[in-house]
Symmetry: C2
Subunit: 340 residues, 2 copies
C-alpha cells in the first residue's frame, strides 16, 4: 500500500527482541493523520533512514536514551515535507531533516528539526546520509577525535557503510593512507575504485589478522571503530603508539553475538557513556611542558598548598626490597631511596 | 656499606622475573668510578626514585622502551650532585634530576638531565616526587586528559601513592569532589585528614564496589587509572556519561596477576602505546557544530569531491526487513527507505 493523503501508516514496536529481529518485532498499523495545533506543523515523510543504532534502541533496557516503548512508532531520522504549518518558522512545502520515525505523517513543534533543506535539492535523501547523522558522525569522529595527520594510516570497518564511506574519503582528502574493511569482494572493490581507499580487506577472509597486517605494514594510527568483535581483535595488535580510536558503534554485538569476555562491557560503556580513555607516558611531555610544570608546582609548594608524603628507604642495598614492597602496595607515600 | 668516594656500588639486573621479584632478580656489584671525558660530567647519586613502572622495564619482552639488559645497572630517576664537570653547562656542586639508575656514580653528557635544582633546596628528594615524574604525571593526566571541571567527582586509586596524592590535591584545588581508594585504614585516614580527599575507600573492603558506590553517589567523572584489576571493575559501572580516564599505570597486573580476560590486553595497549579511545554519540554535537558541518560538506558535494553510495529500500513496509539486512551487513551503502 503506497503513501496516501488520508491515512497514516505507522510501523510500531511490537516486542523487544532478545537476539535477532523476527517477524514479530514490528507490526504495521493504520492511523488517522494528526492535526497540528498552534505552534505545530504536519510533516509528510519522503525518506526514512535505517541505521545500526536502531537495534540498541529497541532493547528492553536503557541504552543512551530510553528504549522505544511497545506500541509506539519506531524512531528514525526522516526527510519530510511540511504539509501544513501553524508554526511561524515554517511553511507548507518546506523540506526538513527531522525525526518523524517509521510513519507517513507526524507533528512537529520545530524542536526536533535539524535543518531546512533546499526544496529543489537533487538528492534529498542525502540529508540522511552524507549531509546528515552518518556524515556528521564521520566528520566529527575523524576530525575532532581522530586528530588526522597527513601520512598516517586510517582504518575503518564497514568501509562502504554510511559512516565508513564518508570517513574514508575525508581521511584520504587530508593526506592519510586509507584502508577499509568490508564484507565481500564487491564492497572491497567499490571501496578502492569508487571511494578511493588505498586498500580494502574482506573481513570474511580466512586470515583477517594476517590480511589486515599486510595492508597496514606501517601500523594503524586511526581506527574508526564501528563494529567491534573479530575486527577489533585484528586491529588491536596493529595500532601504533599514540593511535586514536573514535568509537561510534559496535554492530557486531548488537544482536547479542560476539565476544563474551570482559572487554565488551568496557567497549559498550565507552560508546554509550561517551567515555574517553587515554594512556600516556609522561616522558613524552618533558620537552614541551616539564619546565612550566616545575615552575607552577614549585609555586604551590612554596605557598604550602600541597602536602607531600614520602616513604624513605635508608640505603641503596634496600632498593630491591623497596621495589618489592612498592609493587605489593606496602609503601605509604612516594618511595625514595637515600643513597648518599 | 655506605657510599664512598672510591667505589661505585651498582645494583644490576641479574635475571628477568616472570612473576614476583625474588632475591635473585638483582645483585649488588662493586665497580670503579668512571672518569668523565670532554663534554661529560660525573654525577654522585644522593636520592634514587622507586616507581611501579620499573617492574615493566625488567620483563624480558619490550614494553614502551627496551627491557633493561641483564648485567646492566637497574634504571631509575635520581637526584645527583655534579662531582666533576667537563660539560660547559654544569659545574661541580650543581644539583640535578637525572637518570643515573641504581648506583652511586654515573656519567652524563647532559642529555638525560631533566632540570637543575637549587642546591640549597630544603627537600631535594621532592625532585623525584611532587616536582618530578610522579608529580608531572599527576598534573598532565589530570589537566590535559582529565579535563577537570569544578563540581565534578574525581577518583584515584593508590590515593596516598606518589601520583595519587598529588592528583587528588590538584583536583581538590580545582573545585572537584575527590574520592581516594587506598589499601588499609591508615592510608585512608591520611588521605582524608592530610591530603584533603572528601572520602577514601579501602580497596581491601569486603564489598569494594558497594563502598565505592556509597562514596560516589553522583557517579565518577574522572577516574585516574593507575592500578587496573578489581578496582577498575568497581569503577566502571559508576562512570558518568562523558567520563575521562587518564591511564598511567596498571600496577595490579605488573607481577602477572589479576584478570585473565580480553580487557587486559586492551588496557596494556592503552597504557604502553598511549592510545586514545573515545566514544561519542553525534547528537551531542548538533547544537554546536552541525550547521558548520552541513555547510562544509555541501561545498565538498558541490565540488564532486565526495562520492555517495546509497542502498534504497522501495517502501515503508520493507523497513523491518531492511533493518535486519543492515544489521547482518547485507546492505551496500547508506540505507534509506523511500516512503513517499
Amino acid at each position: 500500500m503506497p503513501q496516501t493523503t488520508t491515512t497514516n501508516r505507522r510501523i510500531v514496536l511490537a516486542e523487544h527482541p532478545t537476539g535477532e529481529l523476527t517477524a514479530k518485532t514490528f507490526r504495521m498499523e493504520q492511523a488517522e493523520i494528526p492535526q497540528p495545533v498552534a505552534g505545530q506543523m504536519l510533516l509528510r515523510t519522503l525518506w526514512l533512514s535505517l541505521d545500526p543504532y536502531m537495534r540498541v534502541r529497541i532493547n528492553a533496557g536503557p541504552s543512551y536514551r530510553d528504549p522505544v516503548a511497545l506500541g509506539s512508532a519506531m524512531v528514525g531520522g526522516t526527510i519530510s515535507q511540511v504539509v501544513e504549518s501553524r508554526h511561524p518558522g515554517y511553511q507548507a512545502g518546506d523540506l526538513v531533516i527531522g525525526y518523524s520515525g517509521w510513519q507517513d505523517y507526524a507533528l512537529s513543534d520545530g524542536n526536533n528539526i535539524d535543518i531546512k533543506l533546499d526544496p529543489a535539492m537533487a538528492h534529498p535523501s542525502w540529508g540522511l546520509g552524507v549531509l546528515g547523522m552518518p556524515g556528521f558522525t564521520a566528520w566529527h569522529g575523524l576530525v575532532n577525535i581522530g586528530e588526522p595527520k597527513a601520512g598516517e594510516t586510517f582504518v575503518t570497518a564497514a568501509a562502504t557503510g554510511a559512516v565508513g564511506q564518508i570517513a574514508g574519503q575525508l581521511a584520504k582528502a587530508r593526506g592519510l593512507r586509507t584502508v577499509g574493511i568490508a564484507g565481500g569482494a564487491d564492497k572491497c572493490r567499490y571501496a578502492v575504485e569508487a571511494l578511493g581507499f588505498d586498500a580494502c580487506v574482506d573481513h570474511r577472509a580466512a586470515d583477517l589478522p594476517g590480511e589486515l597486517q599486510k595492508a597496514c605494514l606501517g601500523g594503524i594510527d586511526i581506527y574508526f571503530e564501528n563494529v567491534g568483535g573479530a575486527v577489533f581483535d585484528a586491529v588491536l595488535p596493529l595500532l601504533n603508539p599514540h593511535a586514536r580510536m573514535p568509537v561510534c558503534g559496535l554492530i557486531a554485538h548488537y544482536n547479542g553475538g560476539g565476544a563474551s569476555g570482559d572487554r565488551l562491557p568496557l567497549m559498550f560503556a565507552t560508546l554509550l557513556k561517551r567515555l574517553k580513555m587515554q594512556g600516556f607516558i609522561i616522558y613524552d611531555h618533558y620537552p614541551s611542558h616539564y619546565a612550566d610544570f616545575f615552575q607552577a608546582m614549585s609555586g604551590l609548594l612554596a605557598q604550602g598548598a600541597i602536602q607531600v608524603r614520602e616513604d624513605v628507604i635508608g640505603s641503596l642495598e634496600e632498593a630491591p626490597e623497596g621495589l618489592v614492597s612498592l609493587l605489593a602496595g606496602r609503601n605509604f607515600g612516594k618511595v625514595v631511596v637515600k643513597v648518599a
